[in-house]
Symmetry: C2
Subunit: 445 residues, 2 copies
């Protein structure tokens, strides 16, 4: 750690690994994406909530199954020894746990089914490797209801997610859906003892492959090879309709949990019948690592980047909110890994960058101009709802044009004056300049 | 610190002092305010930037003068002894320092004058007392230029701030402006040795009053009583035009820095001539605590809450960015204490709360309805740009009306069906129900 105590020396800042920061022209695109996502969420009537960036450490660790999460705790740098240093507070690592805590805490003030979206930064104290993000935006939707949450939402949330993502220039997104009960019942039917362990192994199919899963089931879980082979074969089932049911039933495993899972997944697939063919797949390899999922589980991938990890994930949880409340409050949710997607495309140079500012019109201030006229012109255009910069000093036309052009400002306005009784406006794209009525002119396109 | 290790016990969450969290109906209002501020900033062509929530501790401590800021450092809870635990990272406590660091770091990629707005959360590890916020939104605007920044911006920023705040339902806001050079030159002219110390004392006028300031100048700074009296009298000058100049000159102090300060302040006041009378005051009691201000300084207060602390503050700094760069990059900026204002009005019950969700239309699902029809109706209305919730299950009309009414949804839609060949829509405010064309209907108001 370098030190800096002399006010006159210069501390040269450097990027901090895992923390993103964009130039204005990239930020403008990011804002556009976030706006589009928000407006899509709201088009389904979901309400916004925001929770503090911190939770008590006890809240973050209450739900279990996340020993692998790297949590950033806080400490007041100025705390005296023995004083409260903020040590019981930590930055949230996702938006699901804060939402569950929020629902439990504000239970009496919410209308159920509670449908919320939440777009906030999250933090994970990952070791900076493989370009992992330590601060990132997530965009989450969840529905929580009392006692039971309708299976309709298991279909509405992925439909919403696909709708939301179709508004972004990221190419097609394919949603893979399964149901934990299928794995649960299938393993039960096979007589597997450690079902949680088996699900964790199955979840690694992407990373360790078919053979790796087979080996782990046999070696780590002492499963017999016939049963292990069936587990691997189950995970290979992928259909874009409900034909997965027959394929699973062909294994001849009789189990009521398995049957319930098949029925639920079939219901969800049928409800999603309106979605473009091929974008929704019943994919029995999907397991999801978190222990709290109890039914439907989701993952979504960018079709154009098959090797890129999943960009959305989620599922149904029956008991998550129960970590914080005596009420039974099951839910279902999906989280979009916004920064993961955005930074991927930004780094690959796939974003269409435009202007460096939101300005539509720059009001020029030519030598000899009345500053009051320049200011009043800018105010008048602004009153009419336009986004207007006033050039701040008398400088050459060339210097002002260069400024406007470097920032990508589409129009430059020349206020009326003694020599020129009409206002004039120059279109920076076409180069045309013409008289303009300050009370009526509007930008094109 | 309570502990929670058993997954089946309930960890009852409680609010964390100093961290805000709102119910959906309050959050909707907050979002509206934030949207209005953003759109006002953009109407002046300012670009958005966001910086990471953290900076290196060295960056935060580089600018000096903020020993009183309580900084929250990070530490990875899972760090092994000796491992990097994130300890060199800390949450930013304002947006000025991150902006200065950003400008220095991205110098070559920015267009100057660089005009940016930034709306983010900041953190201060305050001891939870007097309702102090430990996490809060600030909304900042700054202009940074190379070598010199035009004095025009010293007037444009407060005009922008007043314009922005006039769009919020917070009553009138009064902006108090002074110039550090006036204090500097006045004290110099009086022969005061410890000018920084004198400015720090003068800044406490609000807290310790006229007598307290007088006493501190005499006792702590060993100023003679005649000089101390003049300092106090200077701070009493408040004019809504440029007449402060004569009042200051009447002290008969001849100093070039003082004169430069008077000229600058007069220029800013004249440039602000278009602002409603009484909302801008040249107020020579304004000093601002930060050492880095070198010229114009601002504070703004809510006229309706005279005892409430200032809600905006800022000023001109010639050397702040220089802490991180060899380039001379002076700037001027104002910060709006968004959460301070919003939480004040929320806690006083002064917010006009409306719906609990953004939904315009709820599509009902009456007993016997075709789910596919309900879903298709919702999709069609959504395609037309409306915000639409689909009621998720067949329940009694009464139950569905109650849900819509509790959430403040203005319209309920009844899809066409075998018994009722027309779509119908009910206005929840008037109670009227009438046939509606799904391809043409629009909500009123």
């Amino acid at each position: 750690m370098s030190s800096k105590t002399d006010k006159d020396t210069i501390y040269k800042p450097r990027p901090i690994s895992g923390f993103l920061e964009w130039l204005p022209e990239v930020r403008l695109v990011e804002q556009g994406w976030l706006d589009d996502i928000r407006s899509a969420f709201e088009s389904y009537g979901f309400c916004s909530i925001e929770t503090p960036s911190v939770e008590e450490v006890d809240v973050l660790s209450a739900k279990g199954g996340d020993a692998d999460k790297e949590i950033y705790g806080l400490r007041r740098l100025a705390a005296e020894p023995g004083e409260d240093d903020g040590g019981r507070l930590a930055l949230h690592y996702d938006l699901t746990v804060p939402m569950a805590r929020y629902v439990a805490q504000h239970f009496g003030d919410l209308v159920f089914p509670f449908k919320r979206y939440q777009m906030q930064r999250c933090w994970r104290g990952e070791r900076p490797q493989d370009g992992r993000l330590r601060e990132f935006y997530q965009c989450d939707i969840d529905v929580v209801d009392m006692d039971e949450v309708s299976l309709i939402f298991d279909a509405e949330l992925p439909a919403m997610t696909l709708d939301v993502l179709s508004r972004l220039p990221i190419g097609p997104v394919r949603l893979h859906i399964s149901n934990r009960k299928i794995l649960q019942g299938f393993y039960e039917g096979l007589g597997v003892q450690d079902i949680v362990g088996a699900i964790r192994i199955a979840d690694k199919m992407d990373k360790i492959g078919e053979d790796g899963v087979f080996k782990a089931l046999v070696e780590d879980l002492k499963m017999d090879t016939i049963a292990a082979r069936k587990c691997v074969d189950l995970a290979k089932i992928k259909t874009d309709d409900t034909s997965f049911m027959e394929q699973v039933r062909a294994f001849g495993i009789d189990n009521t949990v398995l049957e319930a899972g098949l029925e639920e997944l079939a219901f969800v697939m049928l409800e999603l019948g309106h979605v473009e063919k091929g974008l929704v797949v019943a994919d029995l390899s999907i397991a999801r690592g978190f222990d709290y999922y109890t039914g439907t589980v989701y993952e979504a991938k960018l079709v154009d980047y098959p090797d890129f990890p999943s960009v959305c994930a989620g599922g149904r949880y029956d008991n998550l909110v129960g970590s914080y409340s005596h009420h039974k409050l099951p839910g279902v949710g999906i989280s979009i890994g916004f920064s993961r997607i955005f930074s991927k495309l930004a780094k690959e140079g796939k974003l269409e960058l435009g202007a460096k500012c939101p300005t539509q019109v720059m009001v020029a201030c030519l030598p000899g101009a009345s500053h009051a006229d320049v200011a009043a012109t800018a105010r008048r255009l602004r009153e009419r709802g336009l986004r207007v910069e006033r050039y701040h000093e008398e400088r050459s036309l060339k210097a002002q044009m260069k400024y406007a052009s470097r920032k990508g400002i589409p129009y430059v306005w020349f206020p009326a004056n003694a020599d020129q009784p009409n206002h004039e406006v120059k279109n920076m794209t076409t180069g045309e300049q013409a008289a303009a009525d300050i009370d009526a002119w509007t930008p094109q396109g």
